[in-house]
Structure formats: structure tokens, C-alpha cells
Amino acid sequence: MGKFHLGSLLAAGAILAVGFSTQANAEGKHGMYANGEIRSGYTYLTPQSKAIQNDDFQNPGMIWVDDGATLYEAVDGKAGKSCKACHGKAEVAMKGVATTYPKYDEDTKKIKNIEAQVNRCRTKHMQAKPWKYESGQLLAMTVFIRHQSRGMPMNVSVDGPAVPFFQKGEKFYKQRRGALDMACSNCHIDNAGKNARANLLSQGQTNGFPTYRLKWQKVGSTHRRFRGCNKQVRATPYKYASDEYMNLELYVAWRGRGLPVETPAVRN
């Protein structure tokens, strides 16, 4: 599996880079949760909420990790296979994978995220039914896969065939929409660190997804969050797994380059 070796080399390089720029960070107090000016949503939490994320036995998101681990070993579909049957131990096979997602997909010539890849494996390789987006199973598996990269820096590719999709994602991010006529960037770039009603605005990073939100009282996907943020400005949300959200997810993942994967993160 030469690809994985290359992946871990890249990751090692990125860790060094993170170490360096964190020191250069004027505040310097966010440690591994920042890469220069790029800050994880974690750094905006109260100490009480941070404490919930810090302890795997307080973090309710860990229940989804356990669930995903069980599903990973379960045989399903006409091919009579489990994920493990093809991939082997998740701790080895899935380590670092999430840092490169979403990514360009040769088969569909589009951007795919982890959820899409999991369902690809279910339909194409297992001959099983795809899991519904935002279902307990797809969330649990996505949390489980991304959790195998916890602590590793986000490092998505936005060159080559990904370029046009990345550009669409960026355009979406900066486009004003909804009755409030606001772009993602108006809140998460222009006003990060300020209050929007009762909420302290963060940079809107995705490194902790799927996150356990105190508001949802469960784990939810990036696309659920995007939908929520669209509705907030009274714009019509796009569908889960839509091309628009896949491109947007790529752009937002790039914004958070160098931030550690925190899945399952705890957020307000």
C-alpha cells in the first residue's frame, strides 16, 4: 500500500509545519488546536465544553465511535463481506485517510467525502444498500473512520482535477444568500471571534466533524451543519450529499489545513 506510506510522509511534514507556525502565532495559547491564524472551533469553546471533548469517557461522541467499530466488523450485503474483510484493521488501514477527504474521485469525476466513499464500498464492493445520509449507521461509520486520524493534520488536495470544484466551493462560500443576504465568509471570516446573538462565531472549521453538538444532543455531519447555516440566513438549504455541499466541504476543509482531525469533537 504505497499510497498510505506517501500519505504518512506528507502528514509528518505537515506536523513539523504546524509546530513551527504555532510558535509564530502571536497568541500561541491554542497549541495543537491552531495552525497560525487558522483556529479550530475548539479554541472558541468554554472550559466546560472543552472538558467534555478532552475526556473520552465524558465525550458522548465516543458512543458513535464504538458503534462504528461494531459496524466495521459486521458482514452485510450479497457479497457476504465486512469492511474489515477487505481493509483489515481500521487502526492501520484507515489511519490518515480522513485528512485527505473530501477528494476528487476518478469514477464519478466529482468530489467525494468519507460518507460517499463508505456508501460506494457498500454498493459496489459489498452489494449492500447504501446507508441514508445522516442515518445512525452512516454517522457512526464516518465518525469511526475519521476518528482513526484523530490528531493528524488536515491536508486535502486542491490541485489538479480538484481545481474547478475547489473554485466552485470558494464561490459558494463567498456568495451572499438568503433573506439576510449573508455569505459564509461574512460570519466565519469577517466576524470570527465576535458574537452573533448568543453565539460566539468561530472560523466555521470542519476538522471535528461529525461533531457532537450540545444543541443537537447527538452527532451530526458537515452537511447538516451547512444546512443549518444556510437556514440561519433564511436561504434554502441544499440536499445532503449534493454536489454543492461536496465542493463546499472541500473548500472549507482547505481553509482548515493543518488543523488536527478532532472527530468526534464536541461543539455548542
Binding site: 469553546l45 466546560q48 472538558a51 452573533a196 453565539n199 450540545l214 444543541k215 444532543q217 447555516c229 455548542n268
Partner: protein, 160 residues
């Protein structure tokens, strides 16, 4: 006989209401109707009466550890500890928690024994708005202690 018990209960209730007094007055100050506030204080008082009966809880011994401001009312981390040697002769038997402005004030009750070693619990609770957390501990010698602490709740209305 029955009459008498009822009478002492009335006295107990009045005393308990007095303990909640500060909270009630504060609620009136910020434009809540006094009747709402009284009803809230009364339901906790009623719930507490069931536990303490004719006894008058003393203050002290209980440490309530809560954030001053809760980021989200859905999940507020709290810890409660009762100071006790937890020996056969002297231990905490039970601990009760209430939230005086939740739709229903009961939060949880805990039973300990000397085998617990320490009367301390941590959990997470739902709080509908800014209010008081009230704790009552029941000791093995039949004494009761109580503590109360206010917590501000800012529920995020935004961020779907």
C-alpha cells in the same frame, strides 16, 4: 394527630420559602410575574418537603460545582460533593438535586453507602433558563443539609 403533622409541615414550608426568598425577589426585579416565580419556588419546596419531612435542613457540607454561565442549557456539567467520612457510623445516605425553574424541578437522587468511599457525583443536566440548583443531603444520623447555587443559561438560539 394528622392535623398536627400538617401544621408542622406548614411551618416547614414557610421556612423553606424563606430560603428561596432571594431568588424570588430577584426574579420579580427582572420583570417576571411574581406568581410564576412563587409557583416555581413552591414546586421545589413541595418536592423538598417530601424528602426532609419535619426536619429543617442546615447549610454547609455540600459543595456544588457548576459553571457560572452555561454555554448550552441542553448539557450543563455539574458536580456535587458532600463532606463526610463515609464510615459506617457517619455517612451520606442520599443526595437530591432540583432545578427550580425547569418545567419539572426534579433532576436526580443518589443513594450512597459507606462502600461508596466518597459522596461525590458528576453528571450533565438540562436547564431551561437561568435558575437555582438546589441540593439536599440526607445523613446517616438523620440530619439534612442543603445548598443552593445560581447558574446563568445562555441557550444558543442561532446556528441551526
Amino acid at each position: 394527630m394528622i392535623h398536627k403533622t400538617l401544621e408542622t409541615r406548614q411551618v416547614g414550608r414557610r421556612e423553606l420559602m424563606a430560603m428561596f426568598g432571594a431568588g424570588v425577589v430577584a426574579a420579580m426585579g427582572v420583570g417576571m410575574t411574581p406568581r410564576d416565580a412563587m409557583a416555581d419556588a413552591k414546586s421545589v419546596t413541595d418536592a423538598m418537603m417530601k424528602v426532609v419531612g419535619d426536619n429543617k435542613p442546615a447549610t454547609g457540607k455540600i459543595k456544588l460545582d457548576l459553571p457560572q454561565i452555561a454555554e448550552n442549557g441542553n448539557t450543563v456539567p455539574i458536580a456535587v460533593e458532600v463532606d463526610s467520612p463515609m464510615s459506617d457510623a457517619d455517612h451520606v445516605k442520599a443526595l437530591h438535586l432540583w432545578a427550580d425553574k425547569n418545567p419539572r424541578p426534579e433532576v436526580a437522587s443518589f443513594r450512597f453507602s459507606p462502600a461508596s468511599g466518597k459522596a461525590k457525583v458528576s453528571t450533565r443536566v438540562r436547564l431551561s433558563k437561568t435558575q437555582n440548583i438546589v441540593a439536599v443531603a440526607e445523613m446517616s444520623d438523620g440530619k439534612f443539609y442543603m445548598a443552593k447555587s445560581e447558574i446563568k443559561v445562555t441557550i444558543g438560539g442561532c446556528g441551526g
